[in-house]
């Protein structure tokens, strides 16, 4: 079934990209939380030690989401929805800072990688987060299509996709 394989590949790709980004962000923030803690402390006006704890908590969430997205692959949708919520939170924070202080350069989302690759501005980071949201949205659409198809005749047999979120 070429169409089914295509859906499968699309499901994997739309899961792997955001999961990879979450995993990279989680690892980076756990290893090097300072920039992100500075950023979060600045945006949320919280004390630095609390910002550090919050950064580590976000990093753990990202790793859990990365694992959840990979392991569920459309069967369960809470990792994708949670990932979109987290990305919306990130985008909100980035927009607040970008509008309040256009000179701000780094959010520390990818820890020590910031500024080394292509993550040189908050707008770039906002663009990346929007791209990841689109990827997750496509992943959800595919998973709904998959579960709808599985209930029709000759469709994709995927009973477990109806598992409760």
């Amino acid at each position: 079934m070429a169409g089914g394989r295509l859906v499968l590949v699309a499901l994997i790709v739309t899961a792997a990209v955001p999961a990879g980004a979450f995993a990279l962000g989680g690892i980076a923030k756990l290893d090097d939380p300072l920039l992100a803690a500075q950023f979060i402390g600045h945006v949320l006006s919280v004390r630095l030690d609390h910002a550090f704890d919050l950064t580590r908590a976000i990093a753990v969430c990202e790793l859990v989401l990365a694992a959840g997205i990979c392991l569920s692959l459309g069967r369960r949708r809470w990792p994708a929805y949670s990932g979109m919520c987290l990305l919306a939170f990130f985008i909100g924070m980035l927009l607040v800072v970008q509008l309040r202080d256009p000179q701000a350069a780094s959010c520390g989302c990818f820890g020590g990688l910031m500024g080394r690759l292509f993550l040189r501005s908050l707008w770039t980071q906002i663009g990346i987060d929007l791209g990841l949201m689109v990827s997750l949205a496509m992943h959800l659409v595919l998973s709904y299509a998959q579960s709808a198809g599985s209930s029709g005749p000759g469709g994709i047999d995927n009973a477990s996709s109806a598992a409760p979120d």
Partner: protein
């Protein structure tokens, strides 16, 4: 017929692949692991001491004999120090229109403060221009230097006086205590011209910074930067901060008058190294503030300010 329910093996395989790829990317891209920390003009934004690679050693060895041939003024010799700074400032960059006396006064005062016998004395000497920072735990450079100097992670309750005392002790016990500044070999820096083969002796640049994080190096291609200041550089940790910080001034005024001084210094053990001291002018206070104090390549130099 393909069945949409993916096997557990595929899901776990995807997870392993994603985590492996992310971990690998991080390992390759992270300065800490790859040793690719590279800094131009000012404190390294990653705050981590770069590894001392062969290129850094080569750059240093090619210039060290020239630096050794220079005459040095001890930081404790106030009168000669002022004369040295005066010579440096008067070798002015063409077109600069500044009150040289203010720059001479404030740069001399900073260098004199570095020669203080104790951190308390240092704080007293700089108190008109600088105050102890209460946000040290935010500063990656402080983290990096603390780790390098002590082997420990920076305490969460890091206090400026405690850290300064710690660095002062490291400075006094180690071979890297800056103790003198070069008095000869001053040139007018013009980075559009080829650098002398022996490298940058000493001199200064003056310009109006119109970017928030000023660094004229950033406009140059990497190979040109390396020709001037070598492959690595490191800002000394800032334990104190200026009474008026650069960013505030920039946001208020739109541009800030900046002076970047390059001058070879010598440690107590007699080893020379190149420093960069960046200052900016505060028109309201009519004084120059130190924005950064950095050295290039030899990481046995230990300092905090």
């Amino acid at each position: 017929m393909w069945r949409g329910d993916l096997s557990r093996r595929v899901r776990v395989g995807l997870l392993v692949a994603v985590l492996g790829l992310a971990g690998g990317l991080y390992w390759l891209g992270s300065a800490r692991h790859a040793g690719r920390s590279r800094h131009v003009g000012g404190p390294d934004p990653t705050g981590r001491p770069p590894k001392t690679g062969e290129s850094g050693q080569r750059w240093y060895q090619e210039r060290v004999s020239f630096w050794e041939s220079l005459e040095y003024t001890p930081l404790t010799d106030a009168e000669r120090l002022r004369q040295t700074v005066s010579n440096l400032v008067q070798a002015r960059y063409p077109g600069a229109a500044i009150d040289e006396e203010l720059l001479i006064r404030d740069l001399t005062a900073f260098l004199q403060a570095l020669a203080a016998d104790s951190p308390e004395e240092y704080l007293r000497r700089v108190s008109a221009r600088r105050v102890p920072r209460d946000d040290l735990f935010l500063d990656k450079a402080v983290h990096g230097w603390y780790r390098q100097a002590t082997g420990d992670d920076l305490p969460r309750d890091a206090d400026a006086r405690h850290l300064l005392a710690r660095f002062w002790r490291e400075r006094d016990e180690g071979p890297g205590r800056p103790s003198a500044v070069a008095t000869k070999g001053i040139i007018q820096i013009d980075h559009s011209r080829p650098l002398p083969p022996e490298g940058l002796p000493s001199g200064y640049l003056l310009f109006n910074a119109t970017i928030p994080k000023f660094s004229w190096w950033s406009s140059l291609p990497p190979e040109e930067v390396e020709r001037w200041i070598g492959p690595f550089g490191q800002g000394f940790p800032q334990i104190t901060r200026p009474t008026v910080i650069y960013d505030d001034l920039f946001h208020r005024l739109g541009s800030v008058l900046v002076c970047e001084v390059f001058v070879p210094m010598r440690t107590s053990a007699g080893r020379p190294f190149l420093t960069s001291i960046a200052l900016y002018f505060s028109p309201e206070e009519t004084c120059w503030h130190i924005h950064w104090f950095a050295n290039y390549y030899p990481y046995w130099v230990c300092w905090a300010y």
